[in-house]
């Protein structure tokens, strides 16, 4: 038996105070298996010890919320007896160490979180962030991550319908891979994880347990240094085919009446699944580890409990349903083993070759996990930069600036990525990747879900509160732009080392901004994930609270639209107020001398007013196209609509004092561009609703022209926009 020395304790990531708490809970020295269990359960990844205090500040309720944070995924009511189950989760650390498997198993993990609750996954999204294009590892990491995501989702037969991609040197040593899955279930058939029924069988299904991924959760709770290469064995290996079998077998079993509780084995594997199931049910679980299906010989109880082998589930079955369940898993050629039972001891008891090798009281293991209100220092705010001051730094023609922006890594087409994802399988993809939000029809109906992921880290680093607000507002706006009513979000909080007060200041600020925007927009947080310690050699990433939003479209045959211009001769209308805010804009980042000033302020009441107005227009079929204005501002937005529709546009500038470049490239929030064949009623209605709406041009021809300025052909714009990523990835 391994002697528990202070060094062993430290290697398990527990500090002195935390270890004292372990001794108190146990009333004795833990053995190595027990220490391992405490170590993973109390890791940042599993315990949320640095973030819990702040996460409690997020609004999580609304009349349509069926299940908020705390279960495997969030659940909302979408009417007609259906529920939408969704969550976003990070797999940042593993993807940096081993991009293909790290990203693939990230997708596998989030898929399991969703189908564990009884939902059939209908769409995947992903928010990806990589280092500078010039960094030597960027190409390798991007290529590996994209093929890992595609490899897993394509084989599962679940469409990957969109997401985000961003390059910035702050991610050189810590890429971000955030994967989101959206599923649909019957609203009255949601499965939860609370174990119940003393004596009920605890059943293990799925793949066999191997030595892969041991201490993955602990690894994900540390900074990187020079030794990342040595951490490769902590990355799990994915098998999407087995997961496909597991999905079908679980859904088949769920259609019967056999399951009491179910939990996937994700981070910290058998440990966290058995602990969470017993804690939520306020019961004990005793496991006979010899019965666990094992892939390798000579495994120890420690390894069995800490393995993060993929594609596994733990279930509690109703008495007498074991045979029925086993028949289903036999059909799908998956392992099925009764490995224990529910007990009344409220303890996690593990047996190995006839001996008890672990005996831990469950409630204290969970409830007395460390929770820190870490010291935090609010981010000092930067002075805003006026449009006049910002443009004084830049001398460039608007069309020339547009060309550079569209062909930049920040704004170029992501086609190279989404063509590697099967985004059409399941036959319900109404809006394919590239639009404001993906639109997925609810199978067999004419209703649809709209899905988006959003975050602007360059705003968050300058002003975390405003950046948090903006991430939520942009998600809300993207859903609105396809005619959807935004319903709820999942948040994936990616930050640096929480032990640094300035990082905790970023975290606290973003939470505050997210909470304010969610509250104001009736857009609650129903699930989420926190990834901290995204630092390498002491350098952290930009604060990146990625927001995944879901909304509902009532009828895809009439109450939705897409962003491409549909026909020549339509009037182009700008919705929202344009002040020409260039602080932190892409124009300054790409053409000026880098981001400066403060991010654009988010006026939540204008967001709500303008968004509700635009949604009403779409739902009453008054617009031919709609696109929200975000990165790059107005001219980029119009250019994207023209490229997608292969129709040109003539634009003019309204009479204002705003300098041209600020007018065209300012990133003022709460704005949309719409096109319509009948402008007058829209302008009248806007007046009544107190919404800023101005005609700024018309569609037609093959050129994009700006008044008193240059023109450019749509095909030139298309080529500039379409090729950067593909060329970048094909260069040796």
């Amino acid at each position: 038996m391994t002697e528990i020395t202070p060094q062993i304790v430290a290697e398990h990531g527990l500090n002195e105070k935390e270890y004292k708490q372990v001794l108190k809970i146990m009333g004795r020295k833990p053995n190595i298996t027990e220490l391992g269990i405490f170590s993973v359960m109390w890791s940042e990844h599993c315990s949320y010890k640095s973030s819990k205090y702040w996460l409690k500040k997020l609004p999580t309720d609304a009349p349509w919320v069926i299940c908020g944070p705390g279960e495997n995924a969030g659940v909302i009511d979408i009417g007609d007896g259906k529920a939408c189950v969704f969550k976003m989760e990070s797999h940042n650390h593993p993807s940096f160490i081993e991009p293909y498997q790290g990203a693939a198993t990230g997708v596998g993990g989030i898929l399991r979180d969703v189908f564990t609750m009884g939902a059939r996954p209908v769409a995947n999204m992903n928010a990806l962030r990589f280092g500078s294009p010039n960094h030597p590892k960027t190409k390798y990491l991007l290529g590996g991550v994209v093929s890992g995501i595609g490899g897993y989702g394509n084989c599962m037969g679940i469409p990957t319908v969109g997401g985000e991609l961003e390059f910035d040197s702050s991610y050189n040593g810590n890429i971000l891979v955030n994967a989101m899955t959206v599923g649909i279930a019957d609203a009255d058939k949601i499965f939860y994880s609370a174990a119940a029924g003393i004596g009920n069988a605890v059943v293990y299904v799925g793949s066999k347990t191997g030595r892969d991924g041991i201490h993955g959760a602990t690894m994900a709770s540390e900074e990187f240094a020079e030794d990342t290469e040595e951490k490769r064995p902590t990355v799990q290996v994915g098998d999407p085919f087995t997961e496909k079998l597991l999905l079908e077998a679980c859904l088949e079993l769920m259609a019967t009446d056999a399951i009491v509780a179910i939990q996937d084995m994700g981070a910290a594997g058998l440990t966290s699944s058995s602990v969470e199931m017993s804690d939520k049910g306020d019961v004990g679980i005793s496991l006979d580890l010899d019965s666990v299906p094992m892939r390798e010989e000579g495994m120890t109880p420690y390894e069995v409990m800490l393995s993060e082998s993929q594609e596994r589930m733990l279930m509690v079955l109703k008495p007498g349903s074991e045979q029925k369940a086993q028949a289903i898993f036999d059909k799908w050629e998956l392992d099925f083993a009764v490995i224990g039972k529910v007990t009344d001891t409220k303890r996690l008891t593990l047996k190995w070759k006839g001996h008890t090798v672990s005996d831990i009281p469950v409630r204290p293991l969970v409830a007395e996990a460390p929770e820190y209100k870490r010291p935090y220092r609010p981010t000092p705010l930067l002075a805003p930069i006026s449009p006049q001051e910002a443009v004084s730094l830049i001398k460039i023609d608007p069309i020339e600036a547009l060309l550079s922006l569209l062909g930049s890594p920040d704004l170029c087409s992501r086609r190279w990525i989404w063509e590697q994802y099967d985004h059409m399988v399941m036959g319900d993809t109404v809006q394919r990747p590239g639009g404001d939000a993906a639109v997925i029809r609810i199978h067999g109906t004419s209703r649809a879900l709209a899905i988006t992921t959003d975050c602007t880290p360059r705003y968050c680093i300058a002003d975390p509160i405003e950046g948090g607000r903006q991430a939520v507002a942009e998600a809300w706006r993207n859903l609105t732009a396809v005619g959807a009513l935004p319903l709820a979000i999942t948040d994936n909080m990616n930050f640096g080392n929480p032990e640094k007060p300035e990082i905790m200041g970023q975290f606290a600020g973003c939470i505050q901004g997210i909470a304010e925007a969610c509250r104001y927009l009736d857009f609650p947080v129903v699930s989420g994930n926190v990834s901290l310690y995204n630092e390498t050699n002491g350098v952290g990433i930009m604060p990146t609270p990625a927001i995944g939003g879901v909304g509902l479209i009532e009828d895809i045959t009439k109450s939705t639209t897409s962003f491409n211009f549909k026909s020549p001769g339509d009037t182009i209308i700008l919705i929202g107020e344009t002040l020409g805010h260039l602080g932190r804009s892409l124009l300054l980042r790409l053409i000026g001398e880098g981001e400066r000033g403060s991010p654009p302020p988010v006026n939540l009441s204008a967001e709500r007013r303008n968004g509700d107005f635009v949604r009403m227009l779409i739902q009453t079929n008054k617009v031919s196209a709609c696109h929200d204005i975000s990165d790059g501002g107005l001219l980029v937005t119009v250019a994207e609509m023209a490229i997608a529709g292969k129709i040109g546009a003539n634009l003019f500038k309204l009479e204002t004092n705003t300098p041209d470049l600020a007018w065209f490239f300012g990133e003022d929030q709460a704005r949309y561009v719409i096109s319509t064949s009948d402008a007058a009623p829209i302008l009248d209605a806007a007046k009544v609703s107190g919404v800023n709406a101005s005609v700024i041009g018309s569609t037609g021809g093959t050129m994009l022209s700006v008044e008193n300025g240059n023109s450019i052909s749509i095909s030139d714009l298309h080529n500039q926009h379409d090729t950067w990523l593909e060329n970048f990835m094909s260069e040796a």
């Binding site: 093929s147 595609g150 490899g151 394509n154 084989c155 599962m156 037969g157 098998d239 999407p240 085919f241 087995t242 496909k244 079998l245 079908e248 799908w332 050629e333 989404w418 063509e419 590697q420 994802y421 099967d422 985004h423 059409m424 399988v425 399941m426 036959g427 319900d428 993809t429 109404v430 394919r432 029809r441 895809i556 045959t557």
Partner: protein
């Protein structure tokens, strides 16, 4: 008319094909599990897309040996129409109902996008409602779609009018630039010598609904249903 869709554990376009078939035939297709060798009497067999057995070995290689496939081969030899889409095409070549093989795309990447294809023959039960030379838009979604066969086989296919579809450009030209995956002669679909087995890489079931960007595939299913019901 009765149709059966062969469901392997890793099939993932089985539901999509069912939806497309249901629009055109009165009785719902039989979803036939791969391990069950007792295939009912049907007028059409469809092998859908997906990753039949995970395809870790070679796409379709394991599925070609599943219990039901022996029966599929037997029916095909008796003249029952068999349609293989994507992974279904790969399985049909692996079990040698169709000549040639599908190799990894020359770009070494999975490709999912709309492509233009040209109807090369309409003298088949599958393509008879198209006109020869008609240009269609259909999605592809595959990692191994590069059709390969030896020169002799290619000549036999061409000489006997067995190439059903070829990848083409926007204006209908069959050229290298329009070839998404490196398929020899831009071949996207081939017929068996008896013309009752068709393997195709494009997904007609993904363009059978105007809400989803096109209906060029619907014609294949309606033509097929029509041909079977009114021979």
């Amino acid at each position: 008319m009765k149709a059966a869709i062969i469901v392997s554990p890793g099939s993932n376009c089985d539901r999509d094909v069912r939806v497309a078939l249901e629009q055109n035939i009165e009785s719902p297709p039989i979803m036939h599990w791969h391990r069950d060798p007792d295939l009912p009497k049907v007028d059409l067999i469809v092998i859908p897309g997906g990753f039949s057995y995970g395809d870790y070995l070679r796409a379709g290689a394991m599925a070609a040996h599943s219990p039901v496939i022996r029966e599929v081969i037997d029916r095909a030899q008796k003249g029952v129409p068999v349609l293989g889409i994507c992974n279904g095409f790969q399985i049909l070549t692996e079990c040698q109902l169709l000549p040639g093989t599908l190799m990894k795309n020359t770009g070494l990447k999975f490709i999912c996008r709309d492509v233009d294809i040209r109807v090369e023959t309409n003298t088949s039960i599958f393509t008879r409602n198209y006109t020869k030379g008609q240009k269609l838009k259909m999605p592809i979604a595959h990692n191994e779609g590069s059709y390969f066969a030896d020169t002799k086989t290619l000549s036999r296919l061409t000489d006997n009018d067995l190439v059903a579809l070829r990848y083409c450009s926007d204006d209908g030209e069959v050229d290298e630039a329009a070839n998404p995956n490196g398929a020899l002669l831009n071949i996207a679909a081939v017929l068996s010598a008896e013309r009752n087995v068709l393997g195709m890489m494009p997904h007609p079931e993904r363009c059978s609904d105007k809400q989803l960007g096109g209906e060029d595939g619907r014609t294949l299913f309606s033509g097929l249903a029509n041909a079977i019901m009114h021979p």
